[in-house]
């Protein structure tokens, strides 16, 4: 077994520990926050007796430890439980919503990375010029612009005024163009800034001067020799952003009325839909860990000096 395989195996084993920890934490948090889901289910006009009866029916009157082991037992059998409100298995809800969130994250990150890296490289190569300052300003705007207003502006311009895209809702790839664009816009700033800073370190290295002395063309030098050596922190940042987006871009999903996982999780928290909250958090934790692992593995593709031991 090679080092990489051993490393991956070790990380997969540690995944179970992480998920167990997450399951305990999320269980405790959802049971400790005030608000009784039974009250929501029986409705606003229900009597206290009806609330009590519903608590008993849901098993919420059992000691916390009993409830946790019931939950853990089901989890081991691969059962994330059933939504207290819709009666639909949590796994089915996740499966129906996650593809939208996933596509949104992929398109957004690909767009943000492509433009962000390009701008970052340009800013580094043209350091202290007008172009550098322009990229810096654009990056700052991208980072600090309020999500909500940018999204509304994009909708107003491209969907409402020009009519190029639907205003909201999910209807295949076409309906994801604007949401992905906004997610990309928010990623550009971070990636451009990180690329610029990382490239500035690399550009000053001896091998870059050697390449220049050997007559390698500027852009070939920058991308083949420079960017390849500067890419590790950029990959880390992209990995973190991608992992975060898989938990759902809540504002984007809300404003574009996309039935993704982000708003679904928020709604579950508001209603204290305990099985749904637990299921979604565990699923997201699993994804996040896997994305981190993939990010770590990707390092070696770009930098052969990275060793997995």
């Amino acid at each position: 077994m090679c080092h990489l395989q051993k490393y991956v195996l070790k990380r997969f084993l540690s995944l179970f520990g992480t998920l167990f920890g997450v399951s305990v934490l999320v269980f405790l948090i959802v049971h400790m926050i005030p608000g009784d889901p039974a009250r929501y289910i029986v409705g606003k006009n229900a009597s206290e007796e009806a609330v009590k009866a519903m608590r008993a029916q849901l098993g919420l009157d059992q000691p916390l430890i009993t409830q946790y082991f019931d939950y853990l037992g089901n989890l081991v059998r691969g059962d994330l439980g059933t939504s207290l409100f819709t009666g639909i298995p949590v796994w089915e809800e996740i499966v129906s919503r996650f593809p939208i969130t996933f596509q949104l994250a992929v398109y957004g990150v690909v767009l943000g990375s492509a433009i962000g890296i390009l701008l970052g490289v340009i800013a580094a190569v043209k350091q202290n010029t007008l172009l550098d300052r322009l990229v810096n300003t654009l990056s700052t705007i991208s980072i600090s612009a309020p999500d909500f207003w940018v999204i509304l502006f994009v909708i107003w311009l491209f969907a409402y005024q020009f009519g190029w895209f639907p205003i909201s809702g999910y209807d295949g790839f076409y309906s994801l163009v604007l949401p992905s664009l906004t997610i990309g816009l928010f990623s550009i700033g971070f990636i451009a800034k990180m690329t610029r800073s990382s490239m500035l370190d690399v550009i000053k290295q001896d091998y870059m001067r050697t390449a220049e002395a050997k007559g390698v063309a500027t852009w070939a030098r920058v991308f083949a020799h420079g960017l390849q050596n500067a890419v590790i922190p950029i990959i880390t940042l992209i990995g973190l952003q991608f992992g975060g987006l898989l938990a759902g871009a809540v504002i984007t999903e809300t404003v574009f009325a996309l039935p993704g996982i982000g708003y679904f999780a928020i709604e579950a928290v508001i209603k204290r839909d305990i099985p749904t909250v637990q299921g979604v958090v565990l699923f997201v934790a699993l994804l996040y860990t896997v994305v981190n692992l993939v990010t770590d593995i990707v390092y070696s593709f770009f930098d052969p000096r990275v060793r997995y031991e």
Binding site: I33, P34, G35, D36, P37, R39, Y40, I41, V42, G43, K44, N45, A46, S47, E48, E49, A50, V51, M54, F85, T86, G87, I88, E93, S96, R97, P99, I100, F102, Q103, V106, Y107, L152, I155, W156, A159, Y160, G163, P166, I167, S168, G169, Y170, D171, G172, F173, T254, V255, F256, A257, P259, G260, Y263, F264, I270, K271, V298, F301, F302, P304
Partner: protein, 540 residues
């Protein structure tokens, strides 16, 4: 080169996954109704077309017996034993007539004979019995059906429901909750009935996209529409789509663009803009409910009736209605609004007169109760304790504006109000159940005066914590009086009692605003909801 090749492999893998996922989801609704309904478009139902509605909330389920949320998006699949007209008056529904036994316990409903389920099967008394029995078994709050002892079917189209005691609100239950489900579908799907419901109502389930929309076909066989609809023939439309868009700005843009024809529960800040758009029509209906300033009557500050009365006569509803509610509300002084049976003009006038804004009198009442500003800081004290109290609110801008107005008004008589905002209803309700709250802004809603028993009845008062033997007796009298006139009289007594005791300060009755465009025949009220069979698309 090798590294680039590997990178390309990863990239291709990612691309394939995305395309695969896109393919998986592009046209996959969560649930669809595969059947062809037995209805047939005839008469004036040929106009067709689809109307898209921006609905306020996505219902948890379409199963009437399991849902905690009732609105047009999930209840119009069903018809009820009785119905209501736009003023809230009970009218025949699936039952063409009903009678009550002399002891007020046995309710007999004679069913229409021309009604069919969406599956084509005829409505029978047996299906009514099965529906009621199912609710008694699985409804989250079984008590909402009243004290039912048994359901019998003396004849194929007659249902007799016997109660354990006299219970006048049963009429309301028959009109608002006794929906009849298709027994064949219930047999087939059990507690998953909500995934593909079948009943007798004007809307036939077609497709559900969880988190996004619900699509219904219009029931073209629908000829048993209650009197509240003008169109007694087949509905004009083909399809109705309810979209659940969370963001109000997005809804507004969709509506202005014309991709949505009906915008339900328009936020107050959009109403003026919508009114100015040519072709947009606005419907305003008063809710069957009331918003009030509540006291935790167990709290030492509010145990003295003089304190409660003093606060009631300090509150001025005008800025609340005009500023916080943008004029989209009616001020209320008595315990029931005009939209709920039991409203009494006499009680309303009495409350208005008794609690006419009077700061001097209010201060006097507080002084009589022992509250005086002894240290000159502008805040009243009693036994060294300042009258500093919490006003808990849940919700957005409107409630915050109201809270600030009340804070400023109560400051005039020396009451210091601290506003606490909680972000969700469950936290809000949890604090009330624990009794740790002091003052709060809340609302209630139901189309029967028995709502007052749910608020003040013995064992029920877990928000206002106000229960007395005298009030309980009056509420029970109202609950058990079958004769409508005498029942309304009984609630007049309840009203008078509550006005004098002032366990809350009624504030306003909200107007629900619906904007619509490109359609005609739109009618909606708190008691009927949208009447779909009358709607048709405007010819362009």
């Amino acid at each position: 080169m090798l590294r680039f090749y590997r990178f390309k492999q990863w990239f291709l893998l990612l691309l394939v996954s995305v395309v695969f996922l896109a393919g998986c989801t592009s046209a996959t609704p969560s649930q669809t109704n595969g059947e062809n309904d037995q209805s047939s478009g005839k008469g004036n139902g040929g106009e067709g077309g689809t109307v898209v509605i921006a609905a306020p909330i996505e219902p948890d389920t379409m199963d009437m017996h399991l849902t905690a949320w009732y609105d047009d998006a999930n209840t119009r699949i069903y018809d009820f034993l009785l119905a209501r007209n736009e003023t809230g008056k009970i009218i025949p529904g699936l039952a063409e007539s009903y009678s009550v036994s002399d002891d007020g316990k046995a309710w007999t409903f004679k069913l229409r004979k021309d009604v069919k389920f969406h599956s084509g099967a005829p409505l029978t008394a047996e299906s009514v019995k099965l529906s009621v029995d199912r609710c008694l078994k699985i409804c989250p709050d079984k008590s909402m059906l009243g004290p039912i002892e048994k359901v019998e079917v003396p004849e194929p189209s007659t249902v007799k429901i016997t109660l354990t005691e006299k219970y006048a609100p049963f009429l309301t239950i028959a009109a608002d909750f006794l929906a009849v489900l298709d027994p064949a579908r219930v047999d087939e799907l059990g507690d998953k009935f909500g995934n593909n419901p079948s009943a007798t109502g004007p809307l036939v389930f077609r497709e559900k996209m969880r988190g996004a929309s619900l699509t219904y076909k219009l029931n073209k066989a629908y000829r048993w529409s209650p009197e509240n609809a003008e169109n007694k023939d087949a509905p004009y439309l083909d399809e109705v789509v309810f979209r659940f868009i969370k963001d109000d700005d997005t809804k507004m843009l969709e509506f202005k663009k014309g991709t949505i024809q009906i915008f339900q529960q328009v936020p107050t800040n959009y109403v003026k803009e919508l009114e100015s758009i040519p072709g947009v029509e606005i419907s305003k209906t008063l809710e069957a409910g009331m918003n009030y300033l509540g006291f935790n009557n167990q709290h030492p500050f509010f145990q003295d009736v003089r304190v409660r009365q003093a606060i009631a006569m300090t509150v001025d509803r005008t800025p609340i209605v005009q500023y916080a509610m943008s004029g989209l509300a009616e001020p209320i002084h008595g315990p029931l609004p005009t939209t709920i049976p039991g409203y009494s003009q006499k009680v309303e006038e009495m409350a208005k007169e008794m609690y006419k804004r009077d700061i001097t009198k209010s201060k006097q009442l507080l002084a009589d109760a022992g509250w005086m500003d002894t240290n000159g800081d502008g805040i009243l004290e009693k036994n060294g304790e300042p009258f500093s109290t919490e006003l808990m609110i849940e919700g957005g801008t409107e409630k915050q504006k109201i809270a600030v107005i009340l804070q400023s008004q109560l400051k005039e008589v020396g009451i210091d109000v601290k506003i606490t905002t909680v972000t969700d209803w469950l936290t809000f309700r949890d604090r009330m159940a624990k009794g740790t709250h002091e003052m709060f802004l809340n609302e209630y809603g139901w189309l029967d005066p028995d709502i007052l028993h749910l608020i003040f009845g013995k064992g029920n008062s877990t928000k206002l914590y106000f229960e007395t033997d005298e009030l309980e007796a009056l509420l029970i009298k109202g609950r058990q009086e079958i004769d409508e006139d005498r029942r309304m009289k009984a609630y007049e007594e309840v009203g008078e009692y509550l006005v004098k005791a002032s366990p809350w300060v009624p504030l306003y009755n909200r107007e629900t605003v619906t904007a619509y465009r490109d359609i005609e025949g739109f009618k909606s009220s708190a008691s009927t909801g949208v009447i779909f069979q009358d709607i048709k698309l405007k010819k362009k």
